[in-house]
Amino acid sequence: MCEIKNTVLHSRHLALGAVMSPFAGFDMPIRYQAGIIAEHNAVRKSCGVFDVSHMGEIFVSGPDALGFVNHVFTNDVSLERPGDILYGMMLYPDGGVVDDLLVYAGFTPGEYLLVVNAANIDKDYAYLLSNSEGYDVRIVNDSDKWAQIAVQGPESEAAVCNVLGLGCASPLSFYTYTETEKDGVRIIVSRTGYTGEDGFEIYSTPDVIISYWDRLVEAGIQPCGLGCRDTLRFEAGMPLYGDELSECISPVMAGLSMFCKLDKEEFIGKDAIVKQKTEGTERKLVGLELSDKAVARAGYPVETLDEIQIGIVTTGYHSITLDKSICFALVDSRYSALGTDLLVRIRNKVFPCKVVKKRFYQTKYKK
């Protein structure tokens, strides 16, 4: 196992009294002194700032960049204009997921930025290299050079424009980005996030990101840890790689096949996805709502009313926004229809639950 790394904001987290924990090879803040509930509510009601410098940045360029990215990525980058961002996955030939990621279409034609999960940076980079034979492309893992913060919540536009002076953020629609420059330093501002709220992700050098973080915190923006990052993305129905997507959990099983463009001529894993869509999969990811306040945690069994196990919880919380106990679970597809009554086993007691839509919280993006 490699050494635990620090992000460039590590000393800030310690100074703020954060509870730290290793995540994806980085020593990351789980929560600050306000606590997960207050941080979560700040993002839903006003604004919060996250250190997401652990995320990976891989640049792909060259004459064959478009064809290559379309070969390894499930979504269709030929539809992107410069400044557009697409969500999708990289797959194994059997439809298992290498990673889920964002692809930023460069303002210089033939340039793409792939933003990948921290835990998968090395794996993704190796996957890209090993699948690049025959393509005239340059693949550069620049993850260590870039720092990143996410500013999220209904007041995030005001914070980014007024506190950071990034007026260029204001005209952006969701899933687009722009680039600016300060003293020759590149700054990428994108209207994206992982919370279900309007928000921005800002990429730049460590120096710029540290100064942005300090200004936002001094302006009273709530620093937010990975604890509420998870409760927020979960309420908004978004998967976390490793829990709801993995080598064994395909986009079809996770209900994300709309991000696999089957009208593309080919991409790695396409045949498997076509087959899964046609024939169905044995398991499916569902949302479950409990009638009790007990919390269904990852790994807890999901059972039929006859107490026969037919699935397993992948993420579960007492929802902070909705004040009810909900979870994602991977279940036998025969029990995945909305409204199906099931049981979750918590500390050896069973609790009734019902299959509901995975998007528990109505997301509030800027169109």
Partner: protein
């Protein structure tokens, strides 16, 4: 730095016990609540349930995790604290006034086997 209250006893699993005759009030320490973070659910059996020293009898759920409650003494639950069950955040606000269950002890001498505040202060950091 978490607070250790004088005049009560502690278990290694971070429960506190305040004895009044053969009645024991049981809660969790300030250290435990600060490690757990925001507590959202208290899962404890009701009146009449038998508890045994060193054996799990319920759980606390925080946003991120669930932690077993282990009984520091043996006896019978005579009351679960309804205020704390209704508002688990009371444990975060003041762990030492938010007792969780009241137990009629079958062997009050078990109290003497528990950690003193000084001993507990050495492990709760």
């Amino acid at each position: 730095m978490s607070k250790v209250l004088e005049g009560i006893r502690y278990s290694e699993s971070h429960e506190w016990v305040k004895a009044e005759g053969n009645i024991a009030y049981i809660g969790v320490s300030d250290f435990a609540q600060s490690e757990l973070g925001d507590i959202t659910y208290v899962d404890v059996p009701g009146e009449g349930e038998i508890v045994t020293k060193g054996v799990e009898f319920g759980a606390l759920e925080s946003v991120k995790t669930a932690a077993d409650l282990v009984s520091p003494v043996s006896g019978k639950i005579i009351e679960a604290n309804g205020s704390v069950i209704d508002a688990p955040e009371l444990i975060n606000q003041d762990a030492y006034s938010a007792w969780i269950v009241k137990v009629e002890m079958s062997d009050p001498s078990e109290i003497d086997t528990l950690l003193t505040p000084e001993e507990y202060g050495n492990i709760a950091k």
